[in-house]
């Protein structure tokens, strides 16, 4: 990677991190960079967001995923 590209990448990441802080997403810089790379590769952002949501919600669901029934409802 040439220094310019690296520079651009760094700056873009900074900007994105700043934006994500404003939006209060709770993502750290490293995670964000991974996510950005995945987006660039063409993955569906909705799916990625779902992954993030599910894995961040880790504490509540313990049983196997497909037939999990929430005790709330």
């Amino acid at each position: 990677m040439d220094p310019d590209a690296a520079q651009t990448a760094r700056e873009s990441l900074d900007l994105a991190f700043h934006m994500s802080n404003i939006l209060d997403t709770g993502l750290d810089r490293h995670t964000l960079s991974v996510l950005i790379a995945l987006c660039d590769l063409g993955l569906n952002p909705e799916a990625l967001a779902a992954v993030v949501k599910e894995l961040q919600r880790e504490p509540t669901p313990q049983a196997p995923m497909p037939s999990s029934s929430s005790p709330i409802l």
């Binding site: 997403t25 996510l35 995945l38 590769l41 894995l55």
Partner: protein, 856 residues
């Protein structure tokens, strides 16, 4: 490249998962890790395409708005600034899929917010909130499934797939309900209705004769709405049955001559329309194979057919079928031109669909009719096996071909052909036939082709059609014009109609004066014999000689050929005068004009004119003897005074009477010749000039004859006048014989006196006087006294006779003249005027004393 990407993706995902887990749990345990990994992969593979359009600016805008509405306007501004910088970064090393990044951030932030909010609300109000799980018992089942979707997001619309089970559940409920209510599924009913519309009974929908229609049997349990709609749709089936029934009936009955060509064309047109209908039904049947959604489980929203859809499809065919059924009703009993006329009435409709339909139908129906018109007008052919044409022909003799051979049949005349056109059509075809049969002429074919060229219509079949009434009219007009002209040309030039008319006038109407004079001179003595002793051959010979000795010999031999003597049927007491007549043989084709009845009328006129001539001739003959001559003067000088006076008066009276009679006869003759015959002839000539066709000519001739007959007092209303005239004529003839006798007597007397005076001396007197002596009678040689006595007696008798004659004549003449003004219908002014003039003159003369000495 793909593989490399995949590897990258996998690595990155692993890294992501690790990091996320390490956020919660600093030390992730491997089973948990792998489980999470598997889960992550499942999520990622389930949703491959985003449901929003990739528009980075829109996303940024919505984020800004969100921030602004939350009250973080400074944050919003900062974000805007950041975004603009972020967006401006391009080239290697920058983020390519900016939109995805922004969207990702947005969703994550929202999820965090929702997770915070949702935790609170889900405890108390489970159904409220912006969560995915909304209603239904089975929502848990779907929750973990892949088709999870976000509902309305703040800011912009998400196109979402089928969310919950709500709709599906209600549809299933509905399906159950429908199954409970109906014994029969709608698909089956649709198929049955389609059968009914072709006239076939289906499983449940059958033809009910009491209702006269197709209906669902009452035993089948269906909701009333369905029953009603089925009945409505089956009206089409009923109409179809009617139309089809008519077509098959006609087709069967065709050889039996009940259905004509027009009817056949009508059936063909109907069948055409029905084939369109069958096409539609075939398409619908194919569609009816598809199951109907909502009612069956596995339904697609493709081209299926339900009763309601069927009613929409049937709207247009219903209109058309109704029309056809109405027409069928109307035309059941009609044929030919009447049928075309009835259908035409139906076509007067404002609706474009109906109008076009009727136009198509009528074009086909009227094509046989138009064909017949075309062939009739251009070739004079009448091919009408089923009596459908409005012109009927009758087999007649050649001479009545024009008048009675063809006529119009008003019942078969369709309304779109007007009366005047129909008359022209009739006349044109009649002319062609007339030319072909009577005149042996072939030139009309040229006229026909010319007409066609002028009208711009082809001569081939099917050139004319309904709706082209203008074209038909122009064709007929052109053809009529030319054929009429041709016919008149032929009649005038080849058959010399005018010349023949003139000849008839000259011979039958005694126009050729010198000929008539000669004829009268020659034939006169013959005709005084009784009728049955006269031989017509002799008369024919006399006619010939009369012709030869007059100017008539220079006439066209063809015309003279036709002139003949005719002896009318006679009784025993008739004299030749009563039965003699001339005849003119007008052959084909002129006998169309000079028919039997026309010739009879000419004969009557001839009779009358001949009698008049005879009277005139008689009077002239009398004049010949009455001229002053030496015989009478000689007698006069030799007689005694008393007898002289008698002689005077008798002679005088004779003269006066002769004058009167002559005056009357001359006036009558003048009136007949000039006021009646010549005037009528000039009128007729003028009309012949302007006549455009044979009908005009016939009319003109009729008028001519009629005027002659009426004005010569031969008409029915002038019967009394006619009779009195004939009595007058008789009187005149009597006078003639009297005058003859008188003068004969005078001559005898003269002979006697000459004899008596010269008897002793003149032995060499001319023999003629001796002949008179050979007469037996009372002129025996007596003395002069006896002679005088005889003379006076004779003269006295004659005088009395003459007086009687005179009074009779006067009274009759008065009566005749009195009747004249009563005749309102003819213009007898001239006759009256001149006759009165003579009458007054005679009156005046008679007032003078008959005894005055007048120089004879």
């Amino acid at each position: 490249m793909e593989e490399e990407d995949q590897r990258k993706v996998t690595d990155l995902v692993i890294e992501l998962v690790r990091r996320l887990l390490s956020q919660q749990n600093p030390t992730p345990n491997p089973p948990h890790l792998s489980q999470s990994l598997r889960y992550a992969f499942r999520i990622l593979s389930s949703r491959l395409t985003p449901s929003v359009s990739p528009d980075a600016d829109a996303v940024a805008e919505s984020i800004k708005r969100c921030l602004a509405t939350q009250g973080n306007s400074s944050d919003a501004l900062t974000f805007a600034d950041l975004y603009s910088k972020f967006a401006s970064k391009n080239g290697p090393g920058s983020v390519n899929n900016k939109w995805a990044v922004l969207y990702l951030l947005k969703i994550i932030s929202e999820d965090r917010k929702n997770a915070v909010n949702g935790m609170d609300s889900s405890v108390f109000l489970p159904n409220l909130g912006l969560n995915d799980d909304e209603t239904g018992n089975d929502s848990r089942v779907l929750n973990g499934k892949d088709n999870r979707d976000k509902t309305w997001k703040k800011g912009f619309l998400l196109v979402s797939k089928d969310p919950e089970n709500l709709r599906e559940i209600s549809y299933r409920e509905f399906g159950n309900l429908v199954k409970d209510e109906n014994d029969v599924t709608e698909e089956v009913l649709v198929k049955d209705v389609l059968y009914a519309c072709q006239g076939i009974d289906g499983k449940y929908v059958k033809f009910d004769s009491s209702l006269d229609g197709y209906a669902l049997s009452d035993l089948v349990k269906v909701p009333r709405a369905t029953r009603t709609i089925v009945r409505k749709l089956c009206e089409l089936g009923w109409l179809f049955r009617k139309v089809n029934g008519y077509i098959s009936e006609s087709m069967d009955g065709f050889p039996a001559e009940d259905v004509g060509t027009v009817g056949q064309a009508f059936c063909a047109a109907l069948q055409n329309e029905l084939s369109e209908y069958y096409k539609l039904l075939a398409v619908l049947e194919a569609q009816s194979m598809n199951p109907i959604p909502l009612v069956s489980e596995n339904a697609s929203s493709g081209n299926y057919l339900s009763l309601r859809r069927l009613s929409v499809w049937f709207a247009e065919p219903m209109v058309k079928m109704r029309l056809m059924a109405a027409l069928v009703d109307k035309c059941k009993a009609l044929r030919g031109g009447a049928m075309a006329g009835a259908i035409h009435l139906h076509a007067q409709h404002g609706d474009l669909l109906v109008h076009d339909f009727m136009r198509r139908l009528l074009r086909r129906v009227c094509s046989p009719l138009f064909e017949m018109v075309r062939s009739w007008v251009l070739e004079g052919e009448l091919e009408d096996i089923f009596a459908e044409f409005f012109i009927v022909g009758q087999p007649v003799k050649v001479e009545s071909l024009w008048r009675e051979g063809y006529r119009l049949h008003a019942g078969m005349l369709p309304l779109f052909i007007s009366q005047s056109i129909a008359q022209r059509i009739l006349r044109t075809g009649k002319s062609i036939n007339f030319l072909r049969v009577c005149c042996d002429d072939r030139g009309w074919a040229d006229a026909a082709t010319e007409a066609v060229a002028a009208a711009g219509v082809t001569t081939r079949r099917g050139g004319l059609g309904y709706g082209e009434t203008d074209a038909l009219e122009s064709l007929v007009m052109e053809a009529a014009k030319r054929i009429d002209k041709h016919l008149l040309d032929v009649i005038y030039k080849r058959y010399k109609f005018k010349e023949h008319c003139l000849a008839i006038k000259r011979y039958l109407l005694l126009g050729q004066g010198d000929f008539v004079q000669y004829l009268m001179d020659i034939v006169g003595p013959e005709l005084s014999e009784p009728a049955n002793t006269i031989s017509s051959f002799k008369l024919a010979g006399l006619l010939e000689s009369a012709i030869r000795s007059s100017n008539a010999q220079y006439d066209d031999p063809d015309i003279l050929d036709r002139l003949r003597v005719k002896m009318m049927p006679h009784g025993t007491g008739d004299r030749g005068w009563d039965v003699f007549s001339l005849e003119y043989d007008a052959r084909v084709p002129l006998d169309t004009v000079f028919t039997e009845s026309v010739m009879t009328r000419y004969l009557r006129i001839f009779n009358f004119l001949w009698k008049l001539r005879r009277v005139e001739h008689a009077l002239i003959g009398a004049w010949k003897t009455m001229k002053p001559n030496c015989i009478t003067s000689h007698v006069y000088t030799k007689l005694q005074r008393a007898v002289k006076m008698q002689l005077f008066s008798t002679l005088r009276r004779c003269q006066v009477l002769w004058d009167e009679m002559n005056h009357f006869v001359t006036n009558l003759q003048y009136y007949i010749m000039f006021e009646v015959l010549e005037v009528s002839w000039s009128n007729f000539s003028n009309e012949m000039e302007v006549a455009k066709d044979l009908d005009d000519l016939l009319g003109a001739h009729e008028k001519y004859l009629h005027s002659i007959v009426e004005k010569s007092l031969l008409g029915e209303r002038s019967q009394t006048l006619y009779k009195s005239l004939f009595v007058l004529f008789d009187l005149i003839m009597q006078f003639r014989s009297h005058a003859d006798r008188l003068y004969e007597g005078i001559h005898e007397l003269q002979a006697r006196t000459v004899e008596s005076s010269s008897n002793p001396r003149d032995k060499n007197k001319p023999r003629k006087t001796k002949d008179k002596f050979s007469e037996p009678g009372y002129w025996v040689t007596e003395g002069r006294k006896a002679l005088t006595q005889r003379a006076s007696e004779f003269l006295q008798n004659m005088g009395q006779d003459l007086d009687a004659l005179a009074t009779d004549y006067k009274s009759l003449l008065e009566g005749f003249l009195a009747l004249l003004p009563v005749q309102q219908h003819i213009d007898l002014k001239f006759l009256l005027f001149r006759s009165l003039m003579s009458f007054s003159l005679c009156c005046h003369l008679n007032e003078q004393s008959p005894d005055d000495p007048v120089d004879i």
